[in-house]
């Protein structure tokens, strides 16, 4: 059964965002959009989370943090880059310290561009992510059986 689709728990990490996208991530979880309708919970703990929402670009300071959070999440897991900075570095892409989008540090599954990214776009991305989560679970299961 598709339990991952019904219970996507997220963790949000602000890499080096200007806070614009962070506000929108929280807005998506707030009563106005009520993401909990779909079972979304903001866990704040990588060991509990299934979906990793990253805002902002990756730089020399935080790349190891992003990597560690990702590594501490248990399989199956999905990464969503929220906002254009997380997707590609955005307007900061050629700053001296910026490495680039989140995909420079960890594999990203869903890109949700925008400056700032709209809550609708985030929810859309999470729905997309849930599908990938299910695929990964199926792959994991098959891998185990094989």
């Amino acid at each position: 059964m598709a339990y991952f689709a019904k219970s996507p728990w997220v963790i949000h990490y602000d890499a080096s965002s200007c806070n614009g996208c962070d506000i929108e991530v929280l807005a998506a979880l707030c009563p106005g959009f009520d993401a909990e309708r779909f079972g979304v919970i903001n866990t704040g703990n990588p060991k509990h989370a299934d979906i990793f929402l990253v805002t902002g670009s990756v730089n020399e300071q935080n790349i190891s943090v992003v990597k560690e959070i990702y590594e501490q999440m248990l399989e199956p897991k999905v990464v969503v880059a929220c906002g254009i900075c997380a997707c590609s570095g955005g307007i900061f892409h050629d700053c001296y310290n910026v490495i680039g989008g989140v995909d420079q540090a960890i594999p990203v599954d869903v890109y949700a561009p925008g400056c700032a990214v709209r809550p609708e776009a985030i929810i859309d991305a999470v729905v997309e992510a849930v599908g990938i989560l299910e695929e990964k679970r199926a792959a994991m299961k098959n891998g185990k059986e094989a």
Binding site: N45, P46, K47, S64, V65, E68, Q72, L74
Partner: protein, 639 residues
């Protein structure tokens, strides 16, 4: 009943031999073999007399009375000698008072009184015999290895005083046997005083100023208790013309007013011996002694003599309100306040000491209540406390020699540093405070008996005291169970004799927990039936079986299943970048390395000693003074 005589005299003989033997190997052989003999002797006595009612043994001898007087003189001489040497006036004065009092008593009062049944045997005696014989001699074996390490930690030119140490340990056992087998109160008193002076010498063993100081505190408090005992002897002999414990109790049950004073005085003696507030400080001070001493004093002997006497007196407490109220209040308050203070302690031995005092308080309160259910609970508390607490003391002693500290915070990661020891310790701790293990089942019986007798204050005390007990044991248990950093296993160098003793204690504690219903039927209930004529226990047999079954399950998990399952291991969450996750270090805001550490809670602002001790000391002192006044008033009213 040659076996009883053997149990009293054999340790005495061994003590004498050990005093003369300086050779390490010879001592090893003697201690081990005689401990085994004493242990088997005790077990044999218990098994041969299982379920026995009160059996008096016709035995009286003027010679022994004279020996008792002589022993009294020797004891006084020893105390005076040390008192003069270390210029402790109070100890000298008390010793003189006591020796003069007992001489007067022996010559003028006790002279014409003959006790037909000098020795006796009943099921409570069997329980205590078992504890002394098995736990006590187990501790003696443990002491072999421990004292070797202890001597190694001493300066090289220090005199090896171990012969004296082991002689005292065995003398102690002999004195304890005298206390539990004597129906003649005069003999019992002699045993009582021997234990006092032995523990004085054992506490002062290291001869540091602190040890000497604490030893004198112990002797002063226990001499005061001894004088209380003497007052009781005078009162009993003068008003009842007997010195037989069983006759005294029988008369007491008939004429409560007549025995008010001796009952209060004996209760006072028991309270000092059992280290109840305001006399609890001697037991805390006794922690400076080598660990086997602490284990011997706190689990199997010394303090158990105090509660043994009180439990014996419980039929009197049931009908004599003056003595009962004093005993209940002192015991109850001690249980509550010492449980609180245990929360604030980081030193493992002090936690054990406070927990000992608290549990003895509960036993004292139960004895004071005096109903069959309460005595049932008290007997189990004595038994489980003895086995589990000695296990814990021995574990702490071994841990101290191998991790170099007795601080609970330093016992971090014991689960991997000393895996076997940590599991023993965890079992011991669990037995002390959580169901379905013995101590808590006994507490359960206590609660039921308090509810039955309509004792609101005691129910409240028990509720809050038990809650505090949970916290201080649970956090210690938590510290032990931590797993991180793959530390080196340091328990490979533990002496074999220590392992043997630890193993004996651990197996014994677990067997007691699992065999709870059987123990109840064959060991404790016969005593209840014998004394009260009814068979009554606070916890039904079916519930005891449930508890026994659950205990077995937990032990299997603890020693069998724990850690055997292999799982994929992942690092812990440190909310940032780990530097060395196994050691719990992370990169801090200055790109440096910080270790994530956490200490347990000690809540000194709420449960600290300076806040609670004065309250307890004042309250219990007032209660005791009022108790004595009321007893004297009762006696005067009668006359």
């Amino acid at each position: 009943m040659a076996l009883i005589g053997f149990l009293i005299l054999f340790p005495l003989l061994v003590a004498g031999v050990l005093l003369l033997v300086g050779n390490e190997t010879a001592r090893r052989v003697i201690v081990c073999s005689s401990a085994v003999i004493i242990g088997f002797g005790s077990v044999w006595l218990v098994l041969a007399n299982l379920g026995t009612p009160w059996v008096g043994i016709e035995f009286s001898s003027g010679a022994i009375d004279i020996v008792c007087t002589l022993i009294g003189l020797v004891i006084a001489a020893v105390i005076l000698c040390f008192g003069v040497k270390y210029k402790n006036v109070l100890a000298c004065v008390l010793a003189v008072v006591q020796v003069v009092g007992s001489l007067v008593f022996d010559v003028f009062v006790a002279h014409g009184i003959e006790v037909q049944y000098g020795l006796y045997l009943d099921s409570l005696t069997l329980v205590t015999t078992f504890i002394i014989g098995v736990v006590g001699s187990g501790i003696c074996i443990y002491a072999l290895g421990y004292m070797e390490d202890f001597q190694a930690h001493e300066p090289a030119d220090a005199k090896d005083r171990r012969p004296k140490f082991f002689a005292l340990m065995f003398l102690f056992l002999s004195a304890m046997y005298v206390i539990v087998f004597s129906n003649n109160l005069l003999w019992m008193f002699t045993g009582w005083e021997i234990t006092t002076v032995c523990s004085f010498l054992l506490i002062g063993y290291t001869k540091t100023p602190e040890a000497i100081n604490n030893a004198f505190r112990q002797i002063i408090m226990n001499l005061a208790g001894g004088i209380g005992f003497l007052v009781a002897l005078f009162a009993i002999a003068l008003t009842m013309d007997t010195l037989s414990l069983v006759e005294f109790i029988a008369v007491g049950v008939m004429a409560p007013a007549l025995v008010a004073l001796p009952a209060v005085a004996l209760a006072f003696a028991g309270i000092t011996k059992a280290a109840q507030m305001p006399f609890h400080t001697w037991l805390l001070g006794a922690m400076v002694a080598p660990t086997p001493t602490s284990a011997l004093l706190h689990s199997s002997t010394m303090v158990k003599a105090g509660v043994f006497l009180l439990i014996k007196l419980s039929p009197i407490f049931l009908v004599c309100p003056v003595a009962a109220v004093m005993t209940i209040l002192v015991g109850g308050l001690t249980f509550l306040l010492c449980s609180f203070m245990a929360i604030s302690q980081t030193n493992a031995k002090r936690v054990l000491a406070y927990s000992t005092i608290a549990n003895l308080g509960l036993i004292v309160a139960c004895a004071g209540v005096g109903t069959p259910e309460a005595v049932w609970a008290a007997t189990f508390l004595v038994l489980f406390h003895a086995v589990a607490k000695s296990l814990l003391f021995l574990c702490v002693g071994t841990a101290e020699h191998h991790i170099g500290s007795r601080d609970i915070e330093d016992m971090d990661l014991m689960f991997e540093r000393m895996p076997r020891l940590a599991r023993f310790m965890m079992a011991g701790i669990m037995i002390m405070f959580v169901a379905p293990f013995g101590m808590l089942i006994a507490k359960w019986g206590t609660l039921v008996s308090f509810a039955d007798t309509g004792n609101v204050a005691l129910i409240l005390i028990l509720g809050f005291g038990s809650a505090a007990t949970f916290l201080f044991w649970a956090k210690w248990l938590g510290k032990l169970s931590g797993i991180a950093a793959h530390p080196l296993n340091v328990e490979t160098t533990v002496h074999r004799s220590e392992w043997i003793a630890l193993m004996v204690m651990a197996v014994l504690s677990m067997l007691c927990c699992v065999g709870l219903p059987v123990l109840s039927t064959f060991l404790v209930e016969p005593y209840i039936f014998d004394v009260f004529g009814v068979c009554s226990q606070g916890v039904s047999q079916a519930n005891l079986w449930v508890a026994a079954l659950l205990s077995a399950v937990v032990f299997v998990v603890l020693f069998g299943g724990l850690g055997s399952k292999q799982v994929k291991q992942v690092p812990v969450y440190l909310a940032g970048v780990s530097e060395n996750n196994a050691n719990r270090t992370f990169r801090n805001s200055l790109s440096g390395e910080t270790m994530a550490t956490s200490r347990n809670w000690y809540m000194e602002g709420v449960f600290g000693e300076p806040k609670i001790t004065p309250v307890g000391v004042w309250a219990t002192s007032i209660i005791i003074v009022v108790g004595f006044c009321a007893a004297i008033a009762t006696l005067c009213g009668l006359l």
